[in-house]
Symmetry: C2
Subunit: 329 residues, 2 copies
């Protein structure tokens, strides 16, 4: 029931996920509305519906999710908790989904803070940025755990072998940055099981110099939105430049490929979608503006993560971050 184009595009995406990606999907929400949407796709017998009469508003904050224990996202989390589903996909309010996920699925044992991971469109392979906004304030130990969460995601969700981790800061030398980052640098450099590539800066986020960039949720959210804004700004200026130039006829070409393809690829509404890592279940948050293709891709990602045992892999990695008990020292 979440997303700017719900329920029509969400239902269409679910049908597409089932038919094109072979992902069995359960829809959660208002039964009558969902049933009617399924009938339009002749899919009422293929996609079951679980009733949830309430839904979070798209601008819902964290508190709203506590006040609505029977919202569609809360019910969806409950299905995962009971073992009746293995992942949740939502295009609803990020803050609402994060809060509901934390509350209903709980953090995995040993995970200090769940984190929101987004995939940046670097080439030849994507870069994962986390935390993109689940935690405004964290400790250095959490940044080390974020590296483990990101590695598990890269390996299981994106098929990246031996991903390299970078720490987002404001200078490449180890002593640069604030206290949090300097401490995290020490911990990451000493952490077993992490291929630490050192500090990276804001301009490295799109160069693919590392596979995973860890940062606190405040910095990560600002950086992600700054990138989205800069890409949108550049395309806007580009269109304006074409329009006012002798090359104005190119303005029409702007609507065609490859420029349109590029814009779509760089648009957060296309590459967007985030994974909430560190909970007892897989949660994929599609962009609020997602249409059927985006929802189908999010469902396929969720199925891939669930099938590859991302949650278990995170559990193993995080268990290793605890210092061994020194029983006989």
């Amino acid at each position: 029931m979440g997303g700017d184009h719900a329920p029509a595009e969400i239902v269409a995406g679910a049908v597409q996920a089932y038919r094109e990606h072979g992902v069995p999907v359960v829809l959660v929400g208002a039964p009558r509305v969902l049933h009617e949407a399924l009938i339009e796709h002749d899919a009422a017998r293929q996609i079951p519906i679980v009733r949830a009469e309430e839904a979070l508003e798209m601008n819902a904050g964290a508190l709203a999710s506590l006040r609505r224990p029977r919202s569609s996202i809360a019910v969806a989390c409950h299905l995962v908790r009971r073992g009746d589903a293995c992942a949740v996909v939502s295009a609803g309010s990020t803050a609402g989904v994060v809060a509901t996920g934390k509350l209903r699925l709980r953090g995995q044992q040993g995970v200090l803070r769940p984190a929101l991971a987004v995939v940046l469109p670097t080439a030849p392979r994507p870069t994962i940025l986390l935390d993109a906004g689940a935690n405004a304030e964290v400790k250095a130990e959490s940044l080390v755990q974020f590296a483990h969460l990101g590695i598990a995601y890269a390996e299981t969700g994106l098929g990246v072998a031996n991903p390299k981790v970078g720490l987002l800061t404001i200078g490449s030398e180890a002593e640069k940055g604030d206290k949090l980052v300097r401490r995290a640098h020490e911990l990451l450099a000493a952490a077993p099981g992490i291929d630490f590539g050192g500090n990276v800066e804001g301009h490295d986020l799109l160069t693919g110099v590392v596979d995973i960039v860890v940062t606190d949720g405040f910095t990560g959210n600002v950086a992600l939105k700054a990138i989205e804004g800069a890409v949108r700004f550049t395309f806007g200026e580009l269109r304006a430049s074409f329009a006012e130039s002798r090359l104005a006829r190119f303005g029409a070409l702007f609507q065609r490929s490859p420029l349109r393809d590029l814009r779509d690829r760089l648009d957060p509404e296309a590459y967007g979608g985030a994974v909430l890592l560190g909970l007892n279940g897989t949660v994929v948050i599609a962009h609020g503006a997602s249409r059927a293709n985006g929802i189908a891709a999010a469902c396929a990602l969720a199925a891939r993560l669930a099938a590859a045992g991302t949650v278990a892999k995170i559990g193993e990695r995080v268990a290793g971050t605890h210092r061994p008990h020194r029983l006989w020292s």
Copy 2:
């Protein structure tokens, strides 16, 4: 002596500033080298030289500036301190210039932390972002002072009347963000003399929704570099898209205006250049890759700021931020 193209382009820029903008310039550095460069422009009688035998390396950190009290940037700051010059322009290492400026010019009375302000290429008028990296960690009170520094800069340097201030965070509601931001929001909303427009997010940096965006130097530096990286990335992808498409012949056009103009305008090497605000003197840091045009523009900005009394204006504004003494309460 600082900058990737020093001294040739720096000297050329100084000559241009004198001839085209009417700004009297003094060059500081190795006399023989500078004199030879001036002769090439037939300007040896127009531009005086002040000797400084040492220079900071382009990758110099903050400590190097302490070890080199006779570096060209230190001598230039000394000229301002003695009243023999009214502003410093450098294309040297930002960290080195910031550290030297703080040490040699000292912070203005009442200024908690000097800040680095950059101008983003928003339309119809630019947005000032500060702090862009002078302080990795600050208190909420400093963020309020940054607003005053930014207002003085906008009014005197850019001719903006009644500039509006935004606070960079991760949600538009007052309660969003970390502790620092929530406290700064309260202080800014209550501060006299500040037209506070509320919270802004990363994607607002280039929409011109406010004239000044205040943030800590860690977040500001990451956001600035993320924007620079995203603009560069988008142009790179654009070029690649052209190259591999049927529209490949447009690849050649890419080298012509208006695309080149746009790229130049959005390139940090063009719009870059920062002002270190809050010191007893005006310091403009041109981008390291600056050529003559950029240096001349930086000199013109420095002259404008000095002539408009930016330092005095900051002093007045910051004096107002102290709570009045309650003598007879």
